[in-house]
Structure formats: structure tokens, C-alpha cells
Symmetry: C2
Subunit: 362 residues, 2 copies
DNA sequence: TTTATTTAATTCAATTGATAAACCAAAGAC
DNA sequence: GTCTTTGGTTTATCAATTGAATTAAATAAA
């Protein structure tokens, strides 16, 4: 936007805007771009300078751990893999090493690193320093941010992996400006989601907002599958990759999701049933989500073969069947790929948010 | 809080706080209360003066329509009933009359009326002036706020009935200060809910946040009851008063919810099944809600006989079964009565919010 | 009892920050 | 070419905010 657009939008005088923009230009945070021609003197389009700072994003979601260096727009400048350690000290040590490594011989045109964001499966404290609980790591009330901050010298914040993905969409997404009410669901080994409502990432009272993996889906639990959480009929037991792969193994079908999708497309009733059931349950959960939160978009990030194949088709059908018939509300359902760097880039957005807003989300 | 507490909390200098409080005292918005003794000079506790302004709340939720006059703490000063009209002009006319009537011969110690809030079943636009859709009234894109504002001379805002109940809890509730992450569910003829996350009432992209009535609960819809929304297996078809009363009628049991509850307590298998099924479905929906939003409290407002009887017991059991087993999260489930004025008082809180914050929620 | 200490709240000079109004600049409209 | 429109800057002015000094009112210590 131009100075005068911004002055109008932010309810600040033109004079004030001039002063603010001058300051930002001097500090190299903003740059002047092309002229916008309307009637009268053309306006100078201002743009956040992506190279003003860079951020480090760490994804503990997968093994090996991914560490990326991004600019302020979420473009990946560098990427490093490290082995995942489940013990906190070893984990921080190896991460600190990776952070060191990713900064080696940085060219001059890359802005200074301003912070580290960490994406983690599990619950995170409100100040985003402490992992309250993580089944994968076996952690409980473990301070992750401070040790890593001590070792690296950068401010560190941690957040749930699915939430970070939603935050990444809010900050780095292609349509970031227009998107203020959306939920982002990611389907991988497990199922997770994050909600952005009114432009704010929702964290919940105990960092558990968006946790749909153990959402109880089945009213009559007697014939539902048991879940590792101790209940029966959780979404994860039906729709997660692991669940569908497990069901395929039991049925003597290929475990690989690509092959399973192919077999289903060719008409195999067992494979059809598994994918249909998975997509149906996820569709139901999404419909409940839409009903409860009334988002503008629901973005589902999932592996390519699922998106393109039967699973994606059924998912869209199911959501439409349950949701779109309702009055007035149009929800946009967006299926997209889940690239391997996505969580790490999302984690970087957590650091970017801190740098840009001068405070943590919420 | 005292001046210096507030100065610290709001990051304002003590000098500034003195000036602000003086202004508020002069305008009669705040009053000095008792001294708080710690070490050093005692602090003067400041308190919002409840009688500084009064608000009018209108509930279109029931027939007859309820109109209340409240102070800034939500205490009901007066209450009036009017017949409900479904046609917009007649509706506004009768409401304007009631608003006129409730203001007649106001004693001097009651603050000036500062606005009107209207609670309405259905969807409401983001600016809270237009009813986007209401099945009860048959309205679609009907401007409710402006005609009523013209007739009465007060600013008018409308909001979904369940949402104003949640807003009322946020502003007027006994524990309002501590409660920033909660969901409030009301069970009446229909089922509704409102979410307050991070101290903000969630409206959703199209005013539909909190609408759980048509949340699809049943995975296998073949044997589920059809709903007036066109789908099958909605929460409303199982747990609403109407649904349970309907089921009771079919089973030859008393329709009155009090009697039905009694019969169930005495062991009637049909009544037990109906209440059990209703509470079970609502419990499942609440568990999904908790899973998705991670609130600190879930407050369920429902008729006395349901709360005290079997329904309440089963509801608590079901929520615990699905939720409380999860790691780390403690959710407080609060069952309470749903007094007849609740929606109107909630509506008044919408006007109070506007007066206190100088802007609408969110 | 007296004195010191602590915290609350006010006063006031000084500073900062934001603004309105005037002005310059650069385009299209006429 | 001149006028109009819009963008952006400069500057004098005004108001909001603050820091430091001060007064006030209590408790703790001597």
C-alpha cells in the first residue's frame, strides 16, 4: 500500500505516516516499489523488505528434524536436516549445532537472524516457552525455549505443529491479506488443525486449541476402534495416515498410500472402504468445525495422492453434504499439498510474528 | 483495582492515571471504594459505577418478547413483556413502544440509557445491524438495527441469542474477571452456544460461530433422524428440548420435561433412553468443542429439571468420559439454570460493551 | 512515642508525539 | 498549456504523557 492508503487505513495523519515510513525506510524494513497510477500524483507502493531480517524455523514434527532459514516472506533461503533426539539436552544441543551451521557464510544480502521458532507436536504453554505435554517426546512441563535460547543467543518460541502451519498461512500465505477467519487442517501420520479467527491464531487455555486428533467422532463407541489416548472412536483412529495404513495392512492391501489410492481408483472394494471411511470421518469433523467456528476457508493440507485421488473427492462431497446446504454460509474448502518443509516454515513464521509485531501472537 | 495497580497493568504513568481517573470520576463513571491496606499508604479501590449508565436489552428469542433495563453490571432494573411480531415493521414498532414504556418515570439515581442490544435466533452480519438469516422470523438480510435506532434514538446492535449469553457472562458474570477462555452452551427449544476466546466473543465470518444445533453428530446417517435443516443426525434432533419432548410423545411418555425427568428417575426405560441419548449426544458435542477450542470452562445453561436430574448426571459423565482423560487439560464443566431473563440481559451486555469499549465486540 | 520506610497519589515543568494547514510534486483532465 | 486531483513533505502548534519532586497515609523499626 501507499503512504496515504496506510494513513487512511490506520487512522493516522499523513504527516505522521511520512515520519513513520521515513523511519522504516532508514532502518531498512520497508522499501519503495513501483508507482500506482490513479488520478492525480501517483502513489508510491511501499513494501515490507523481505530481506530486512531472516528467521530460523525448526520442525520437530518429523525425524530427521528440519531446520530452515527464511526471509520475512517465508521464502526458504537454506535448509538443514538433523537427527532427532528425544532427550531435551541432546535435542537442544543438536538444534543449536544446526542453527550454527545454517548461519555459516551467510551472504551480505541476507538480513540478520532475528529469532527462532520451533514447531512441536504436543501442548505448549501460553508464553510459548514450555512444552506442557508431548507424547512423541515423552515430555511434560519441559522448558524448550530457554535452553535453546541460551545456546544460540536468539529469542526462541515454541508452538504446536498444526498451529504453526496456520500461523504460517496467516503471515506467509499467498492470500494472507484477505484471510482472517480460517482453519487449517493437516493430515499426516496424525491429524491436527489450527484456527485463525479474526486474524488471531487461537492457542486455547492450555495450548490445546485445534487438537482434533482425539475428537470423539462416534456416538456409539462399542464398535469403535480403541485409540492410544485410551478412548474409542477418535478421529485419529479412522482418518490419519497411520490408521488407514493399518487398516490396509489388515486387509492385505498395500500400505503405501499412493498404491492404496491407485487400488481404490481401480475399484478394489476394501481399499475403497478404507479411504471412504477415512474421508467420511474427516469430512464430518470438518463439518463440525465449520459449524462451530464459521470460518471463511477451511484449508486441508494432505499428501498428494490423497488430495488428487478418491480421498479428496469423498472429503469434498462429505463436507458439502454436511455443511454447504446450510443457510447463508459459504465455506471455501481448499485442498493442498503438504510439502516436507511446511512445518519448519510455519515455525519460522512464529519468529517472524515476534519480529514484526514486537510481541507473541495473542 | 487502585490507580497504581491500573497504571502498572496498563503501562501508563501514575501521573497519567491520576488524570484519567479524575476525568472518569468527574463524569461519574467510576467511584472510589474502600482502602486496600498493604505496606505503605493504602490504595483506594476504584470501581466502575454501575449506575453511570443503563442499557436496554431485548430478547426476540421467546414469545412474548422480553425487554429489560439493566445497569452497567447487568442488574435488571425493569422488565417488560411484549407480543412478538414476525414482520419487521410491526416488530420494530412494538419494540420501540416497549423501549418507550420501560423508560417512563425513571428515578434520578438511574443513569441515562446509552444503547439497545437485541438478541435474536439466527445469523447476524459482522457490523451487527443486519439479520442475515433467521428461520424463526423468516428473515433474510433484514436490517433490524437501523429502523429500531431511528424509532428510539439510541444506538442499536443485534447479535445471535447464544452469543449474547456468552457476552453477558464475559461482562456481567460473577467470575467475569478471571474468565477469558470459555464456551457457553444453552439448551432450550433448540441448542446454541457462544465462544469467548482470549476475552473476545467469537462471531465467525458470517455470524455463525457457536451454531452447534446442526452440528452433524452421526457418522452413519442412514438411521439418523431427519432435521428441519435438510440433513440427518444433527445435534438438535437428539438433544434439544423439542427433540426429547417429541420422542417422549411418540413413546407415550409425558412431554413436560419435569415429568419426563421424574419418570426416568423412577426407572422408566423409555424415559431413561430418551434422556440418556440426549445427554450423550450433547456430551459428545461438548467433548468435540473442548477438543477443538481448549476452553477453561464450559458453561451449560439448561432448564432446572434437566440440570438436577438424570440428564445432568449423564452429561457430566459423558463429557468426562470423552474429555477429562486427556493429558494436561482440565476443563471445568459448569451446569446452571437458564433464567427467563437471561437472553435479554445478555442483549443488554451488547449495549454495555459498546458503551464501555467505545466499539462493538471484535 | 518517635522516626524511618514504604507505597499511593498529585502536581508541575518538560518533553514528546501527533496533527492541521500550508506547501510542493507529479500525474491526468480539459 | 492550464486546471484539477491526489500524494507526500514541511513546519508551527497543540495536546497528551511523562519524570521528578512532592505530599499523603499507612506500617515497621528504633
Amino acid at each position: 500500500m501507499s503512504r496515504s492508503d496506510l494513513a487512511g487505513r490506520l487512522a493516522i495523519s499523513k504527516a505522521g505516516m511520512t515520519a513513520i515510513v521515513r523511519d522504516l525506510l532508514e532502518r531498512g524494513l520497508v522499501e519503495e516499489k513501483e508507482l500506482i497510477r490513479r488520478q492525480g500524483r501517483p502513489a508510491v507502493r511501499l513494501c515490507l523488505k523481505a530481506s530486512a531480517a531472516s528467521l530460523i524455523g525448526v520442525s520437530l514434527q518429523s525425524d530427521p528434524v528440519r531446520v530452515v532459514l527464511t526471509d520475512l516472506r517465508g521464502e526458504v533461503l537454506r535448509s538443514v536436516h538433523v537427527q532427532r533426539h528425544l532427550e531435551i539436552t541432546a535435542c537442544c544441543d543438536s538444534l543449536a549445532e544446526a542453527v550454527q551451521k545454517i548461519q555459516e557464510n551467510l551472504p551480505d544480502d541476507i538480513g540478520p537472524v532475528m529469532g527462532i521458532g520451533v514447531a512441536q507436536p504436543g501442548f505448549v504453554s501460553r508464553d510459548r516457552r514450555i512444552c506442557l505435554a508431548s507424547t512423541v517426546f515423552g515430555w511434560k512441563d519441559v522448558n524448550v525455549a530457554d535452553p535453546l535460547s541460551e545456546r544460540t543467543g536468539f529469542p526462541v518460541r515454541i508452538e504446536n505443529d498444526a498451529n504453526v502451519l496456520a500461523l504460517g498461512e496467516l503471515l506467509f500465505g499467498e492470500y494472507a491479506e484477505e484471510r482472517t477467519h480460517f482453519s487449517l487442517v493437516c493430515l499426516a501420520d496424525g491429524v491436527g488443525s489450527g484456527h485463525v479467527l479474526g486474524g488471531r491464531l487461537q492457542h486455547g487455555a492450555h495450548g490445546g486449541a485445534g487438537e482434533i486428533a482425539h475428537s470423539p467422532l462416534v456416538l456409539d463407541t462399542a464398535d469403535a476402534l480403541p485409540c492410544r489416548c485410551g478412548n474409542r472412536g477418535c478421529l485419529e483412529t479412522i482418518s490419519s495416515l497411520k490408521a488407514m495404513q493399518g487398516a490396509a495392512r489388515l486387509a492385505g492391501l498395500p500400505e503405501d498410500i499412493h498404491l492404496l489410492s491407485d487400488v481404490a481408483m481401480k475399484g478394489d472394494p476394501g481399499a475403497l472402504r478404507i479411504l471412504h471411511r477415512g474421508a467420511g470421518a474427516l469430512g464430518l469433523a470438518l463439518a463440525q468445525m465449520v459449524q462451530m467456528l464459521d470460518p471463511e476457508q477451511v484449508i486441508v493440507a494432505l499428501p498428494e495422492p490423497l488430495r488428487a485421488g478418491l480421498f479428496g473427492i469423498v472429503l469434498k462431497q462429505e463436507v458439502e453434504r454436511h455443511v454447504l446446504r446450510r443457510a447463508g454460509q459459504q465455506v471455501e474448502l481448499i485442498l493442498r499439498d503438504l510439502p516436507p518443509d511446511a512445518f519448519a516454515v510455519g515455525a519460522a513464521s512464529l519468529a517472524a510474528y515476534r519480529f514484526l509485531h514486537g510481541a507473541d501472537p495473542e
